[in-house]
């Protein structure tokens, strides 16, 4: 968006660049809902859309009269470069009278594209103006109405268009003069007109702070619109709405596999969960494996639990295999890792959250405290009294319980990991490693869920409040003590291909061949697939570099890259169970966002103050 404004401007003037930057910032702050790629904002007067008696200077912001100025036939106007976008909600610009010239016959206002420029604004149809010599307002008519005071040299006149109720008012030296026009048509351009020699005016489309406090005026309308939304009558359907909301929350929790939380929520709200608990836990386990970079295990688990699923989704299978290859390079996939003998997952810097809630930017983290932005690590937050049944998963809070048992190369106290059931001796020596994957992750989830409940149940009300600040704080505080084996034990510096193990590297290369074969097979069956080709190319390219983590395609190794795949797999599983592949909550959010954008396109100004972001906090 910034580039758009800068593009048309000559380079080289630092002062001007600074002003340009200030303009961009101000416009963005004033009109956040405007998409300038669709509807650019006025930033200067148009050198093309003016009468010949008008001269422009100072980056097309200063207007002066250069005609004879004998009578009204010598009037001349200029329009801004673009019409006012409806998504502004409330639009404002100011004009400073540098000189009133001979007679001060100046008009400030608005006009539609195509209105005669050999006139002052206000005299013709679809043209509106406030004139300095008599203080009258002209509403598409040659005769004015008494409106405000006269204006002259030194005065700053502002023009505010309210695109919510389609009215316009002017300001003089920062004081509002009251409504001048109502029922304005859409797509009006800021316009000024001059009529006698010596008249000079400067426009401010946001290059400088405005004299009038337009943001205060906007805040009133924002409050009005928000109030309107908050008070929207739902009448008889109150119960219905509540059920819908509960369903949305519940389905969201289920979708992301917050099993215990979903159960607790269902109990509290006396609603039903559509999916049975085992299924939720299975999905959750698979997601966890993908997010931990153990894609091979994830594929195995999927094939075991949902036979036929991957066969029906060859694209998904291919993506998984591709990822598995990348994780082998990373040294995180179990097929490779079991050969390295290194601390499992020691390179895995991905926080242990199994969820894939959408990101809304950092300011919104507590909307979905289980989300990726706020790692809700299970083990680390277990209160002491809850840990009786899993003494082994204590994390750094219980170093003695773990470090003594650990024989891994890692110095991490949290090296005891549930994931080692099928691999190295070192982990088998631990009391808990005998547990199956499923069991361990299961109990973990319960811990997390229980904690979740603890954190949010408030006093006697027993009402579950999603994402209270208090809750968030607990989660944050435990960030450092995240157990789960994700502690990054300094291996970032010593990262090596496949963990530096020869056998592992051989296994990887073999896997690469298998992958190549799979790709060729898919190509035969379904025809060429550019995406697949690219994916494969990128993955294999990693091998071309001595330090794959710091190479042009190294981005692939970032653990966050697992998220989209994880989400796709989860959706595929859900779809196979005849459940929605997207949670309704996200659908609703997406729809609301889309609606607001649609409002801008159909010129409903209130969209500016009804942004979805405003309600996510």
């Amino acid at each position: 968006m910034a580039a758009l404004g800068a593009g048309s401007m000559p380079l080289g003037d630092p002062a001007f660049n600074y002003q340009e930057q200030e303009l961009n910032e101000r416009l963005k702050r004033l009109y956040p809902a405007v998409n300038e790629e669709e509807t650019p904002l006025p930033r200067s007067w148009s050198p093309k859309d003016k009468y010949s008696y008008i001269g422009l200077s100072q980056n097309n912001l200063r207007v002066h009269y250069k005609g004879h100025g004998k009578n009204h036939k010598d009037a001349a106007s200029v329009r801004a470069t673009h019409p006012i976008p409806a998504a502004c909600g409330i639009y404002y610009f100011e004009v400073k009278i540098v000189s009133k010239g001979r007679d001060g016959y100046m008009g400030i206002g608005l006009s539609a594209q195509g209105v005669n420029m050999n006139r002052l604004p206000g005299w013709d149809k679809h043209s509106y103006g406030y004139h300095g010599d008599d203080g009258h307002s002209f509403c598409s008519s040659g005769t004015g109405q008494p409106y405000g005071p006269t204006f002259t040299t030194g005065d700053v006149i502002g023009c505010c268009v309210n695109l919510i109720n389609n009215t316009c008012f002017y300001t003089k030296n920062g004081i509002s003069l009251g409504v001048a026009f109502t029922d304005l048509p859409p797509n009006l351009y800021p316009t000024v007109g001059l009529q006698t020699p010596g008249e000079i005016v400067d426009a401010n489309f946001g290059q400088q702070p405005f004299v009038f406090d337009i943001e205060d005026y906007m805040s009133e309308w924002r409050a009005k619109i928000h109030g309107m939304i908050a008070r929207f009558p739902i009448g008889e359907r109150l119960g219905e709405w509540q059920a819908v909301l509960q369903n949305m929350v519940s389905s969201y929790l289920v979708h992301h596999g917050y099993c215990a939380t979903a159960t607790a929520f269902a109990r509290a709200t006396e609603t039903m969960i559509q999916e049975d608990q085992t299924s939720i836990k299975n999905r959750q386990r698979i997601q966890k494996l993908v997010l931990a970079g153990r894609v091979g295990e994830a594929v195995d688990a999927t094939q075991q639990l949902y036979p036929g699923l991957l066969e029906r989704n060859p694209n998904l299978l291919f993506m998984l295999k591709c990822r598995q290859f990348v994780e082998m390079v990373n040294g995180t996939d179990s097929e490779v890792r079991c050969l390295t003998g290194r601390s499992p997952k020691s390179q895995d810097s991905y926080p242990g959250s199994p969820s894939l809630s959408p990101r809304h930017g950092s300011s919104n983290t507590h909307l979905h405290s289980g989300g990726a932005d706020s790692p809700t690590c299970s083990n680390g937050v277990t209160p002491p009294n809850k840990s009786k049944s899993h003494s082994g998963v204590g994390g750094s809070k219980y170093p003695s319980a773990s470090s003594s048992a650990s024989s891994s190369t890692s110095s991490s106290p949290s090296s005891i990991n549930y994931s080692e059931s099928n691999s190295s001796d070192s982990t088998k020596s631990q009391p808990h490693s005998a547990n199956s994957n499923q069991e361990t992750s299961d109990s973990e989830m319960e811990i997390e869920a229980e904690h979740y409940t603890n954190g949010v149940v408030e006093g006697s009300s027993a009402r579950i409040m999603n994402g209270t600040y208090k809750h968030e704080e607990i989660l944050q505080a435990d960030d450092n003590s995240i157990g789960n084996g994700v502690t990054d034990d300094g291996c970032a510096n010593s990262r090596q291909l496949c963990g530096g193990n020869q056998a592992a590297t051989e296994r990887m290369i073999q896997f690469g061949r298998e992958l190549q074969a799979l790709s060729e097979q898919l190509c035969r069956e379904y025809g060429k697939n550019a995406t697949h080709k690219k994916m494969l190319q990128d993955a294999f390219s990693l091998l071309a570099y001595s330090d794959p983590w710091n190479c042009p395609v190294g981005q692939q190794l970032d653990p966050t890259q697992r998220e989209s795949l994880c989400s796709a797999l989860n959706s595929a599983i859900l779809e196979s169970q005849n459940l929605p592949k997207q949670p309704p909550l996200m659908l609703a959010l997406g729809q609301a966002t889309e609606c607001v954008q649609l409002m801008a396109r159909v010129r409903s100004g209130s969209c500016s103050f009804a942004r979805v972001d405003n309600f996510l906090h």
């Binding site: 004081i175 003069l177 009251g178 406090d213 805040s219």
Partner: protein, 673 residues
């Protein structure tokens, strides 16, 4: 301690007393403290929202017993707290309930309770006190009888949000006089309450803000202190500006605007400060708009009128802000014809506020029009404005009449309006009517307006004269109020200016020389000046001078002597010398001066005075005495030469003041001819 109740109330309520109510009261006397506690709790549940039950319990004497239990140190804290809660609930009822509670001395008992160390109990007591004090029937003074109460309340402010809310609410309702403001100020109200403006609780912020508005009202000391207060590193005026932001609740915007208005009127903030011009004034204008509640519109308009009253620049800005002049015209449209048909409730509501709206609008018009001619024109050109003022003058509500006449007074300062709209609408008629038998404050404004209507270029002057106004004005000069005496004599002065002999005689006859001379010794300087003015206007044109001097010459000369001899301002002496000069212009009246050697000496003295104005007036007087064309001028010239006037005149021809030297030369020429 018996509860005093008005007899009729007791009878009417007693008839409805039920056995259950009695049962509640009886349980308060149970010997088992646990049962008493349960009784109080049950009573609490029984009275919530039940005004009848509340009245019953009060009649049955529950209050003294509850107060006894509340004060008894043997009572458990829980019991004492529950008692305070029940009393608070009783106070929530009707005004009669409050009266009964106050009569039972609930206030000292609750104030005593505030000394307890227990916060819950304190909060219950404060809550009840708050409810009692915000009632209009409670005498505010009760808060100030014990001097230890205010400091103790200040110290409780830090305890909890509840104590903050209740205490600030008590303060804002009980600060009614400058004395109250001083007491609160001296006990650190500003330092203690200022931090509450950024409390997380809206209620606390709001009540704290209200406190500042009542503290600052017409109080220079408080206002001057307020401008320097910092809240969280920010100047208080900026905190108030933030509270006026347009997304804040209207109540908060309005109260913050009031605070800044009062600080500005008290001289603590300049009228050209941006926080007044760009924030407070626009905020108040906004409050006048149709989209707000009638109460808010009244308050906004009244505050706006007060803010701009003394400053013409603010008046000019306001007159162009948001079509204010036209917006106020809407204030006269209540109750609207629509409300009468559609909705009885709305009609009732409109009727209740109609007077308030009208008087508020008149006040704003009065302020707007007090200086600027263009604004006055704009006001009189507003739809039906003059008709509205005229009918406002005869409304039943005194507030409306007063505001209407204030508005009329502002507009009457315009020569153009006096000549046109005032005459067209015969405003003098309702004005004259208003002058009969009105309270002093209305009389002051009305008579002041009348002064303007009696100016010689006013077309209303004639009809007013014919309506027998002289008697009324003469009676005003006898008023105890200096303002009324000034206006009375001022109007007479204007009336006498270039008036017919008949009118002048009528004025003198009606006023009576005795009253005239009483006014010449009036303690109020303004009255004296206007009386001299009247005399001067009466003593103009020769026949009039001679006629009046022939009948009242002795007294007038006496009065002039007295004034010239006494300590008076230059203006008074100048005016007196001008009267003397007028007398010297008469044919026969001259002799009254010529035969009075003492007076001649005085004139001589003032010709040599250090003040040019007095020299000029005295010289003028001499010039009139020696004027050639008149009979006996030679003798007078001779006499004055003997006394030494010629020498003085010669000296004065050398004066550096051109007027004076000219005047002296003209006088000397009389000798040469």
């Amino acid at each position: 301690m018996a509860c005093l109740l008005e007899a009729p109330l007791r009878i009417s309520v007693l008839s409805e007393v039920t056995a259950t109510s009695r049962h509640y009261v009886d349980r308060l006397f149970d010997p088992d403290p646990q049962k008493v506690l349960q009784g109080v709790i049950d009573m609490k549940n029984a009275v919530i929202g039940n005004n009848k039950q509340k009245a019953n319990l009060i009649v049955l004497g529950a209050v003294p017993r509850l107060l006894y239990l509340l004060q008894q140190s043997s009572s458990s804290l829980e019991l004492r707290t529950e008692c305070a809660v029940v009393l608070g609930s009783l106070a929530m009822g009707t005004e009669n309930n409050i009266k009964s509670l106050v009569d039972c001395h609930i206030i000292p008992a609750l104030l005593q309770g505030l000394l307890s160390p227990d916060l819950i109990f304190i909060e219950a007591c404060l809550r009840c006190l708050r409810t009692v004090f915000i009632s209009p029937v409670t005498p505010v003074q009760l808060l100030y009888t014990d001097p230890t109460v205010i400091p103790h309340l200040m110290s409780l402010l830090s305890n909890s949000q509840r104590t903050q809310e209740y205490i600030t609410q008590i303060f804002s309702h009980c600060c009614k006089t400058p004395e109250h403001q001083t007491v609160l100020f001296n006990h650190g109200a500003i330092q203690n309450i200022a931090p509450l403006l950024i409390s997380p609780s809206y209620k606390v912020r709001m009540q704290a803000l209200k406190c500042f508005s009542v503290l600052a009202y017409e109080n220079t000391q408080v206002s001057m202190t307020l401008v320097n207060v910092l809240v969280d590193g920010e100047l208080l005026s900026q905190v108030f500006v933030k509270m006026m932001q347009r997304d804040q609740p209207i109540e908060m915007q309005l109260t913050a605007a009031k605070c800044l208005t009062y600080m500005c009127r008290a001289g603590a903030i300049r009228t050209d400060d941006n926080c007044i011009v760009l924030k407070t004034l626009p905020c108040l204008v906004r409050m006048c708009s149709k989209e707000h509640l009638l109460e808010e519109r009244v308050e906004g308009a009244e505050t706006l009128a007060y803010l701009m009253e003394p400053d013409v620049e603010l008046q000019r800005i306001a007159s162009t802000t948001d079509h204010l002049v036209a917006m106020l015209a809407d204030y006269f449209k209540y109750p609207s014809s629509v409300s009468a048909i559609t909705d009885i409730k709305r009609l009732d509501h409109d009727l209740k506020h109609a007077h308030e709206l009208r008087q508020a609008a008149f006040k704003v018009y009065a302020s707007l029009g007090s200086n600027d001619e263009d604004i006055r024109k704009k006001i009189t050109e507003t739809e039906n404005m003059m008709d509205r003022i005229v009918s406002g003058l005869s409304e039943s509500s005194i507030k409306v009449r007063l505001a209407a006449v204030r508005c009329l007074h502002s507009l009457s300062r315009s020569v153009q309006q006096l000549r046109t709209s005032f005459h067209d609408h015969a405003v003098w008629k309702p004005l004259m009517k208003l002058l009969q038998n009105a309270p002093d404050e209305v009389l002051v404004m009305a008579s002041s307006t009348l002064c303007n209507l009696l100016l010689e270029f006013s077309p209303s002057k004639e009809p007013i004269l014919e309506s027998g106004v002289i008697e009324l004005l003469c009676s005003l000069t006898q008023s105890d109020s200096p303002a009324l005496r000034v206006n009375g004599i001022w109007a007479l002065m204007n009336m006498a200016f270039q008036a017919d002999q008949k009118v002048k005689v009528e004025i003198v006859r009606c006023l009576g020389t005795e009253q005239l001379f009483r006014l010449l010794s009036d303690p109020d300087g303004n009255v004296l000046m206007k009386t001299l003015g009247l005399l001067r206007n009466l003593l103009s044109t020769r026949p009039h001078i001679d006629q009046i001097m022939s009948s009242h010459g002795k007294q007038i000369m006496q009065a002039v002597t007295l004034i010239l001899e006494a300590e008076h301002s230059i203006e008074v002496k100048e005016q007196t010398l001008c009267i003397l000069a007028n007398i010297a212009d008469g044919n026969t009246a001259k002799e009254l001066i010529m035969t009075n050697d003492d007076m001649l000496q005085k004139i001589k003295y003032y010709m040599g005075h250090s003040n040019v104005k007095l020299q000029l007036a005295a010289t003028f007087c001499v010039s009139n005495l020696i004027w050639n064309e008149e009979e006996g001028s030679q003798e007078r010239q001779d006499k004055l030469r003997e006394i030494g006037f010629v020498d003085i005149l010669h000296k004065l021809t050398q004066s550096s003041d051109p007027n004076l030297s000219d005047r002296a030369k003209t006088a000397l020429q009389q000798y040469l001819a």
